[in-house]
Structure formats: C-alpha cells, structure tokens
C-alpha cells in the first residue's frame, strides 16, 4: 500500500489495453487495503460460479492495491492506483513465489481541468490500463463498475492521434542506436488485408522533425501534418504509393509503441508521464 518507486517501472515493456473510465463515485485512496479484500472475495465468488460448491482449494488469487503518487501531473491530480492479481502456486501454497497474472492501473496525468469540475464525491482517474487475461479484466471491471458506479469504455486511438504520437515521440531525444521508428499502414478496401510497414532511422526522423518544428516545446497540427506529408512524399518518390490514402494503424518508436485498436507499450521510463498525459487527454475527451 505504501508508495514504491519501483512500481511505476513495472508499467514498462508490457502490452497495455487502454480504457476510459468515468469518475469513480465515493472512491477513497485511504481504503485501498479494504478494497483489495473485497475485490479478492468478489473474484473468488465469481470463479466459483458454475462450479460445484465447496471445492475451493485452488482459487487463491491475491489482490493488491497500491498507490503510485509519482504517476501524476501535479498535486491536483489523483495519485494513480495499481491493481495487481497474483496467483499462489497450487503445488506449494506456502512458498512465497507468487505469479503476477493480471494488472491494471488507473491514472490521471494533468487532467485537472476535468477533475476540478467534478463534485468532491467523485474521483477522476479517467485512464485505465490493463494487462493480462480478459477474464480477470471482466471481473475487476465489473467490480469497479458495481462498487463505484463508473463505466469502462475501450479507448481506441484515431489515426490523427497516432500521427501526433509519431511526431511527438520522434522529437524526444534518445540514446544512440535506439530502435527504428516504424509506422504501420493498412490499405483499406482490399479483399485480403495488406499492411505496409515504413521504418525510418530515428536520427533521420528527428532531423526531419527538427526542420518542421518551429518553436521547441510546442507542437501544432500544421507541423504534425507537414511532418507526415514529408514522410509520405518520400515514400511516394521511392515506391509510388500514396500513404495518405491508407490508414495509419501503428506507431512504434523508442519511446513507446501504440496501436489504433487501443493498445500501448511504454519503453522509456523518462517519457512515461508524457505519454500518459496524452492518453489521459484522449480518455477525458471520450468521457466528456
């Protein structure tokens, strides 16, 4: 329950599904232990549904709630809440090696414009990340929906927002020999799916972006469009394919990789808050 700086690092290098969550009603950061107990009981009850009564030997799922105060934009944001489910090994119940089977993280990075307009009975943690089996997600999600009268909604990322990510992440400085920036496009209206992968050396991409961006630290839609247009025309010169007629479905850089179906992988702890801030913004616009 106490803050643990190592917890935030556990978000890295995992595939997260994105959800937006409406404000939680009567949620309190002071009761995380109690919530863990209730959710644990709920999951145990759910897992027994449809099974014969009373064979509960192997149902041990350990639930932990932890607060991640470092994962927020400022003091006006709620501290993030990490929910982890781990199963105890059925072979030796006493051994301490627990296996993490599912984790979920509620967070809000720089969402104060939204959260400050909400009455105090509500807690704004509009972005939810989930990793693990969907059956656990269903149980945890239902419990939250029932307990805090909130609503989970899948958060997909539009191609426009993906292009923003491509531009923003290109501009971030990373160490040498980082992996390539890769954009994945899908060609619509074909009998068979056809994907086009467009990989650029990160330093080349950054050089291009630096010529496009006028004021450092500030990005405009025009700059993003120009950047993408430059990439498109380069591609067209070589392959005679207009990428602007296709759909951008995935962006991966050394910072993070995001897919339009609403999944993301964080790769750099330094830029974690920045990426979460953008995602918080998307989540808020979906619930507003």
């Amino acid at each position: 329950q106490e803050a643990d700086p190592q917890k935030a690092v556990s978000l890295l290098r995992k595939q997260w599904s994105l959800y937006s969550v409406t404000p939680l009603y009567r949620f309190s950061g002071a009761h995380l232990k109690e919530y863990a107990r209730l959710l644990g009981a709920f999951i145990a009850a759910e897992k027994q549904k449809g099974l014969a009564v009373g064979e509960g030997v192997d149902l041990g799922v350990q639930v932990t709630f932890s607060s991640l105060p470092e994962l927020r934009g400022g003091h006006r944001d709620q501290p993030a809440v990490l929910v982890q489910l781990s199963s105890r090994s059925s072979v030796s119940p006493k051994s301490s090696d627990e296996k993490l089977v599912w984790s979920g993280c509620f967070c809000c990075v720089a969402g104060e414009d939204f959260s400050e307009n909400v009455p105090e009975d509500f807690t704004c943690l509009p972005l939810f990340l989930a990793n693990g089996a969907e059956s656990y997600l269903a149980m945890v999600g239902s419990w939250f929906q029932k307990t805090f009268d909130c609503h989970f909604c899948r958060l997909s990322i539009s191609p426009l927002n993906l292009s923003w990510m491509a531009a923003m992440w290109t501009g971030c400085s990373v160490e040498k020999n980082a992996c390539a920036t890769e954009l994945l496009f899908s060609v619509p209206c074909l009998p068979q799916p056809l994907d086009i992968s467009y990989a650029i050396h990160p330093e080349d991409a950054k050089a291009l972006w630096d010529t496009v961006q006028k004021t450092p630290g500030e990005i405009t839609q025009e700059e993003v469009s120009l950047y993408m247009d430059c990439l498109y025309s380069h591609f067209h010169r070589h392959f005679k394919i207009h990428l602007s007629a296709t759909k951008l479905v995935k962006v991966s850089t050394a910072i993070a990789s995001a897919h339009c179906n609403g999944t993301i992988k964080f790769l750099q702890s330094k830029y974690l808050p920045g990426v979460l801030k953008l995602l918080t913004e998307l989540a808020i616009s979906q619930i507003q």
Binding site: T22, G50, A52, D58, L137, Q145, D149, Q286
Partner: protein, 742 residues
C-alpha cells in the same frame, strides 16, 4: 460538460396534453406491451377468440384421442399439433395444458415424431404445475415411451426447472430419479437434474456408494464428479476421496431447443412484475458471449452498494437517518418509499433507476447533483458505445438499442426533463444518422433536448436534421415537424414552471437569461418556418404536410398568452399563402384559427403595453404588427372583399396586374377566392345550394348573397369550421362589408 436543469419540482405543465404523461400504473405495465395489447384486442379480438377456441379443441383432442394412427395420414392430428406449436411459440401454454400434453407425449400413444414436437413446444406462459410432473415421472417409470423421448423429457425438465411452481413433490421423487442413473444414456442428464434437486438430507451413504460404483464402472465422468462434489460439500465426512478441482463445464447444455423461448418467457415475466427484477440481466450476459467484455448493453440491476466502509457510512448519514438505511432491493411499494424516503439507500449503479419507477419518483423530488451526475456518466457512455450507426458491427444489436432508447425516453417523460447526456449523444451522432435506424426513438429523444440560452443547436441539430429532412419522404418530414412541435411544447412548459418558481427562488439559474431563452425559442421557430417553406415546395403543398406545419404554428401563435413568453413570430409567406390557397378546408380552417389567435395575442400585448405605461423589457416590434396586418389584408381580401389581387401589399403576396389576370381568361377572377368560390369551400357552397334550392340544378353560386350569405356562413360554421367562424367574427366588421383592419 454537465448542463443539468435546476428544476426538479412539479413538472406538470398547466395546459400540456401529453400522450406519454407520468402515470405510474401505465409505466409499470410497460407502454409498449400495453399499446400493442390494446391494438391486438381491438383489431384482432375475433381472430384471438377463434385461436383460443382452436387451442382448446386441440387440447381436448389430445386428452381424448385413442387410436390416432400415423401423423401423415391423420389430418386432424396435424391440425391440432400445429395449433399447439403456434400457441406455444406465440404466448406460451397455460398451466393446465401441461398435464394433458405431458401425459400424451410420454404415454407412447403417438409416434416419436409427434412426441418430440409436443415436448419441444411445451413452453409455459407463466409457470409449470408441479402436479403434471409427478404424473410424467410415473410414465417414465413404466417406460412406455422410447429412450430418445425419455432423454428429451429430462432435458426439458432441466431447462424448465426454474419455471416449476413448487418443487416439494419433485424432491420426494429424488429416489426415482436416482434410480435412472443406471441408464447409461440418461445418466448425464439425471446427474444434472439431481444436482439441481439435491439438498443436504438427500445425501445418503448408499447413494454415495452407488455413485462411486458408477464412477468405477464408467470412469471419471464430469457429471458424476459434479454430483459427488456436491455431496461432498454437504457431507464432507462421508466422502473421503479427493476430487479434481477446476472443471470448466460439468453438464451438457440442456436448454437447446427451448433457449429462445425461455428468454422470451423471462422477459415477459419481468414485464409483469411491479418492479423489474434482474432476472433478464443474467440471461443477456450469456446471450452475447461473443462480444467482448463490457460491450453489451446491460441495464444494471438495482442493488445496494456492496462496500460498507465506515467512512462511507458516515458520509451517508444525515440529519434524518436514524440508524439503518433502507436497502433498495426491499423497495417494492410507493408507501414504502414514502416511509423510508429519508434513509433510502440508493442503488450502487445509478443506471438501474431507469427500470425502477419508485426510484424515479425519488429522483424527482431530491436535488442531489451526484445522483444525476452518476446517471449522466453512465448513460452518456452507454449511448455512445451502443449507437448502432456509429459503432462498427453493431447493427445486429439494433433491437436492443431501440429498447434502450425507448426506456430512456420514457424516463425523460416521467421526469419531464431531458438528460444532457442524451442531448450530447444526439449532437454527436446525428451527423452520421441515416434517418432510418431507430427513427421514432431518435425523433422522440429529440423532443427532450433541454432549453438553454447558449444554444449549440444550430450547428449540431438543425444542420444535420435539415439535410435528412429535405432528402427524405413526406412521412419523415411530418414526423420531424411533429417532434419539433413537441420540443417547442416541452420548452414552453419548462419556461412556465420556471416562471412559477421564480417567485420563491432566484428564478433563472446563472446560465439562463430570459432574452437568451427567447432567442433559442425564436431560432427553433425560424428553423421550422424555413424547412416548412422548402418542404411545401418539394412536396407541392401536400395537405398532409401542411396540416403538421399549421399544427406547429397553432402553438407558436399562442406563446404570449398561453406560455407567458414575450415572443410572437408570424409564419413565413411560404407557409401562409399555400395555406390560404389550400384545396383543403381543414388547412384553411386551421389558418383562420391561427390568425384569430395571433390577433388575440397581439391585442393583449398592446393593451399590456398601454396599461403599464413603463418601458417593458420586451416589446413586439412594429414589424410583427405590420406583418400580421399584411397577412390580414390578404386574407380578408381573398375570403371576403374579393380584392386581394389589388390590395395585397405583401411582397410575396397575391397582388397581380389586371392585364395578367385577364390573360388567364378566368371570368370573375376577383371573387374566385371568397368563401363561396374558394376551392377549399366550394364543396360546401355546392351542398348549401342543393339544400337551399333543391329544384335548381344550375349551380348558380351568385345566388348566395344578402341574407342567403349569412345563412351560408351559418351553414359553414355548422359544418365544423370553427376557426373560420372565430376569424370572421373577430377580424371582419359585419356592419359594413368593407374590411376593417385593426
């Protein structure tokens, strides 16, 4: 983000006639079924009668039949069997039918094909009497029927288990069922049935031994394991073997042939119960397994919150709460609501109020913002996620979505208030709407868009709506006009209530000002005027369309007097002139009534101005009076003084040069639109002539003059043209026949 209207008090408007008013009893029955029932009764009562007769005949046939012969040759049997099947599918079978049909099906009188069809159609309308099952079990014991029928019967029994009215006698038959375990084919189903029936006292050492024997003989069968683990759960001391845990499914699904029917019965039973129960909610979850988590439309069941934390309790308790709060599950009657209103524990998920009429009453009388906010978030997200034309691959769930929209609309009618989440949903989704999907539901939701002075409606609603309006059928146009009329009415009612509460509170809340409201209402009226003008041209002034347009203006012309809002807007010329020259007396009569009401409102406004002698905040511009007078000149000129072609001064009016008129070669063109010759009234003039001069066949309309003219007018009034009467009596000075304009 959240624009909730502040008034939640009495929502009954003074003169509103709502078809969907707040009537608890109507709500309970569920408007849809009630309506369809009524229709059914009035239209098809005879058909129904004969259907019931034929079902009774079928039943008595099956009761008495002795030697039926084969199905293919026996036409009577074919007919009765079909009757039973169709009745079962349509509305389910009455309880008394089960005894007869089960007896027949299991007695082996008929061939298996008939028995199978009978068993498959054994769908209860409400419940299955236990007594009929007892006799069926005795048939089973004498094994008159084939193995496959026995199996089907067991599957039926498992599938319908929840619909059996009592289960005491069935429990008494536990031993009989247990004996069927011997049969290898029946064993899995018998295990399932026993699993459902087993109580602690059913677990006996000899039964455990039998089960273990069977397991030794047949190997580890999931159904046997299930029963054994249940026994072990009840009496762990009697069973020492370890059973493997973790089993996905123990039993085969028995519901198969009856699945759809069971869902229908559950839905029907739910509608009947006073407070809908979460029964349905469980089944929908299974129904749409294929969809991902949380993407199916489920109205949450009303249940009290699951967490009981100390602090939460503290927050809840206010001045009134004594010690315990009243759980929402127990809330069944209105008097319970009244008694416990101060310490009612609200449901953990606010979405459940939609199906809980008593909680809606509660919502109506409390002013807790968080309740509305919780509902707002949930509804906003649900509408967004389920919208069948915005979300890919969701068209198959259209019926579900329709039902949901229906429920939301009913709630709005009940609360007499629109939800802002619905407003946002409409603004978001209308640009993508095809005007067809969920049409009536969407149009009805539109009528509850809240009135606010910062109106985003122009870009969000009017734009997309106009596009659809112009490109759709006449009927769509009429229904849009109808909805906009209701929208206007809801706004005006809301305004009247605000005025009433103004005296005891601060009146308009911060973000609404009177001039803002007037502008929003005016914008709506101008929008309707514009689309009406164009629609009349597109549909060549269809009478039907004109009726809906004039219906709208019947409300517009009375805004000042009836709703106390300083606003009067005349219809555009594109509406006025088609109505004046309409071929139909209904339209003309409507127009006369509207002009009479405009006159009354304008006169009242003028008088108020003069009496108060002070500068009023709102005053009708002289342009309104001028416009009215222009129309009046045209109307009197047409209907009465026969000089409209000369006197009409409206720029889009009837004024025509003498020479042009002569070119038409119409004789007496001057009189061609007066009360005798007007195409909408000529039919009346003809009938009048026939009555006044029965022997004259020349149809000499010029005979109607002088005293006959007055008789003719009386005749018209007697034909129901009340609007014309009011108009002529108020706007035409009968002493001198010249027009007198106010």
């Amino acid at each position: 983000m959240h624009r909730k209207q502040s008034s939640k008090n009495s929502k009954q408007p003074p003169q509103a006639h709502h078809s969907n008013q707040t009537d608890l009893s109507a709500w309970r029955k569920g408007g849809k079924t009630e309506k369809s029932l009524q229709k059914h009764q009035s239209h098809n009562s005879q058909v129904n009668e004969s259907k019931r007769d034929s079902f009774e005949q079928a039943l008595s046939y099956f009761e008495k039949v002795q030697d039926p012969g084969s199905l293919r040759k026996n036409e009577v049997l074919q007919k009765h069997l079909a009757t039973v099947e169709s009745t079962a599918l349509e509305k389910g079978l009455p309880p008394e039918a089960f005894d007869v049909l089960l007896n027949v099906a299991l007695s082996g009188k008929f061939a298996d094909a008939v028995n199978t069809r009978l068993l498959k159609s054994l769908i209860p309308a409400s419940v299955i009497p236990e007594s009929s099952l007892v006799s069926s079990v005795s048939w089973l014991c004498v094994s008159k029927c084939s193995g496959s029928i026995q199996l089907l019967f067991l599957r039926w029994l498992i599938a319908m288990f929840d619909f059996i009215d009592h289960k005491d006698q069935l429990h008494a038959l536990y031993g009989f069922f247990f004996s069927f375990l011997q049969d290898e084919k029946m064993c899995p189903y018998v295990c399932h049935l026993l699993y459902l029936l087993t109580r602690k006292e059913s677990v006996k050492p000899f039964r455990i031994r039998k089960l273990l024997d069977l397991q030794a003989k047949m190997g580890m069968q999931p159904h046997l394991q299930a029963l054994l683990s249940l026994y072990k759960h009840f009496c762990p001391e009697l069973i020492s073997i370890t059973l493997p845990g973790k089993m996905k499914t123990y039993f085969k699904n028995s519901e198969g042939p009856w699945k759809a029917a069971i869902i229908t019965i559950r839905r029907r039973n739910q509608e009947k119960s006073p407070v809908s129960q979460p029964l349905l909610l469980g089944t929908t979850q299974h129904q749409s397994r294929k969809r991902k988590w949380n993407t199916q439309l489920i109205l949450p069941a009303s249940s009290a919150s699951t967490t009981h934390l100390a602090e939460v309790k503290d927050k809840n308790s206010d001045l009134y709460s004594i010690s315990e709060s009243f759980p929402v599950e127990q809330l069944q009657t209105f008097s319970q609501l009244l008694q416990n209103i101060h310490h009612l524990e609200l449901p953990s998920q606010m979405g459940s109020v939609l199906t809980h009429p008593l909680l809606l009453h509660y919502m109506n009388c409390i002013k807790d913002e968080s309740i509305y906010l919780r509902l707002h978030y949930w509804m906003g997200q649900t509408l967004q996620e389920e919208c069948t034309w915005c979300v890919v691959d969701s068209s198959q769930y259209e019926e579900e979505f329709k039902d949901f929209l229906e429920i939301v609309h009913k709630t709005e009618c009940f609360l007499q208030e629109g939800f802002s989440s619905c407003e946002e949903f409409l603004y978001r989704s209308l640009p993508f709407w095809d005007g067809f999907c969920c049409r009536s539901q969407i149009l009805r939701l539109m009528t509850w868009i809240p009135l606010s002075s910062f109106s985003e409606m122009k870009s969000h609603l009017y734009g997309p709506l106009a596009q659809l309006f112009f490109t759709s059928s006449l009927y769509f146009k009429c229904s849009v006009l109808e909805s906009l009329k209701e929208l206007l009415q809801n706004w005006l009612n809301w305004h009247v209530i605000q005025l009433d509460s103004e005296s005891d509170s601060q009146g308009y809340s911060l973000n609404t000002t009177l001039s803002g409201l007037v502008n929003t209402v005016a914008e709506l009226i101008h929008f309707v005027g514009w689309i009406s003008t164009l629609a009349l041209r597109l549909e060549s002034s269809a009478t039907f369309l004109l009726y809906f347009i004039l219906d709208f203006y019947e409300m517009v012309c009375d805004i000042y007097l009836r709703y106390n809002l300083p606003l009067l807007i005349m219809p555009p010329a594109g509406v006025f002139y088609p109505a004046l020259l309409s071929m139909d007396s209904v339209n003309l009569n409507q127009l006369c009534y509207i002009m009479y009401r405009y006159r009354t409102n304008l006169v009242a406004a003028k008088e108020n101005e003069q009496i108060k002698k002070k500068i009023l905040q709102f005053k009708f511009s002289s342009q309104t009076y001028q416009e009215y007078n222009q129309y009046l000149i045209a109307m009197v000129g047409c209907l009465w003084t026969s000089n409209a072609f000369q006197k009409d001064v409206h720029p889009q009016g009837l004024r025509l040069d003498e020479e042009v008129l002569k070119k038409t070669r119409v004789q007496d063109f001057k009189t061609s639109f007066n009360v005798v010759y007007h195409p909408a009234l000529m039919g009346y003039a003809l009938l009048f002539l026939q009555q006044a001069w029965p022997d004259d066949n020349t149809f000499n309309f010029s005979l109607i003059k002088g005293r006959k003219w007055n008789w003719y007018l009386e005749y018209l009034y007697a034909q129901g043209l009340k609007g014309l009467k009011l108009f002529i009596e108020s706007s035409i000075n009968r002493v001198s026949p010249a027009s007198q304009i106010k």
